[in-house]
Chain length 148, copies 4
Amino acid sequence: MSIEQKAIEARVADGFKRANFIVDLGIEATACGAGWVEAEMPILPRHLQQGGFVHAGVQSTLADHTAGAAAATLLDEGFSLLTIEFKVNLLRPALCDTLQCRAEVLKPGKQVCVVESEVFAINNGEKRLFSKTMVTLAVLPVAATLPR
Amino acid sequence: MSIEQKAIEARVADGFKRANFIVDLGIEATACGAGWVEAEMPILPRHLQQGGFVHAGVQSTLADHTAGAAAATLLDEGFSLLTIEFKVNLLRPALCDTLQCRAEVLKPGKQVCVVESEVFAINNGEKRLFSKTMVTLAVLPVAATLPR
Amino acid sequence: MSIEQKAIEARVADGFKRANFIVDLGIEATACGAGWVEAEMPILPRHLQQGGFVHAGVQSTLADHTAGAAAATLLDEGFSLLTIEFKVNLLRPALCDTLQCRAEVLKPGKQVCVVESEVFAINNGEKRLFSKTMVTLAVLPVAATLPR
Amino acid sequence: MSIEQKAIEARVADGFKRANFIVDLGIEATACGAGWVEAEMPILPRHLQQGGFVHAGVQSTLADHTAGAAAATLLDEGFSLLTIEFKVNLLRPALCDTLQCRAEVLKPGKQVCVVESEVFAINNGEKRLFSKTMVTLAVLPVAATLPR
């Protein structure tokens, strides 16, 4: 494994473990490279909405956080990211044991970064796409992304 | 209190209590009427992202669920809702003890409903807006919103 | 060419020619199939914004209309479409002689349809992506999509 | 009229007159102040889609451009704006003689600016809202917003 790939993996792992809400939901990174990250989470009863489907907020959290991690793989030292906005299309109600996500950077940038996230489950070897999200992130000096 | 207002309150309360993820996050409805709902949640360490701010996924969950509840106040018997899509603009990093949300129906409909949600905190009597979300929901017969 | 392909082409051509604003901008369909449409337009000085780039509104029109056409290729007789919402990410300022668009249906549906559109130019044989749009359309009986 | 108000009006007028596509559509600014702009356009047959309603692309152009102008009223000298993304909810099909728009800055910023635009018509003294748009703009040195 290249030094760069090791650095990417360390950065991604760090970005998941230090985020309380991500740990609380059980979301973990499973693979990554320059410009992309994959993550997954086990779906438990506490993740559901009133109808018994995975809550849109769970899908959005997974999509947004994985997108931020994908953008972070391309970031210069000393910089960090904050999500400016995202838009999620929920294509069908989500029902599964494990929710997966793949985020890919569509447009890196020095000021703004755009990432696409797909949230899906694999069922009998087939990919079932539940939602697709476009995320815009601001690139900022690390200090600007921490509480004062 | 009118019979209609009682029915609205019962429906809204039900929509929050039966959603596991909402209960898990600690989100509760605080006020409602025809076409609008207010909700709030205490912010705990487990709701934060890596920088120490409230995670965008927490804000989105609050915004989306409260929007759905607002739309539900205008729904005919026998119908339910599923979020089709939403878009959230995160205006500034969120730091607070209690996160509040007010959702108002912008356009009710027999097939599609559009709702605006604002997520904010009150600090020293002043409203600090953290995010604004536009939510589109599909109106469906109840059976179509439940797992088969 | 199959009868179905002929019917798709006729429907798509019709959807571009009967839309005044599309004819006015010079947008034409160039290829199509079940679930996708490609279109293009020549960029003239009148399509630019104050900086000299293609106006975002031009890109949005091209993306939205081509998306509607892609959704229409999958529509049952007697039904038509109205755009409910779309979100466009403008990835870089657009400068070109000919703007192209490819729209693909991400999720067909009896009530709601979701389509992705990419707007780009081909420069020296290379694709330059200017914007990506997610479009949600309502499927309605034809009469509901015409002025009363 | 204050010097500041005069400067705002001059800047807004300039931003509409120098944009070819805006002149071509017939869009004109009608009022403005610090953080907001109003604009309108006459609806002609060439602005319609296939069903006879105002094309979504026309509404989007009006919403996006007026939003940019609203953000520009708060800009420091030497800076300009580019739209990063916008999302429009089309609430009902638009049918009218004159389309109006009011854009208000929701969150100004040194790097990113968020603006809301409402597109509507006044009919018999009553406001009919056709669409609502959230626009995110990047604040950039003027040179970065011009073709190289």
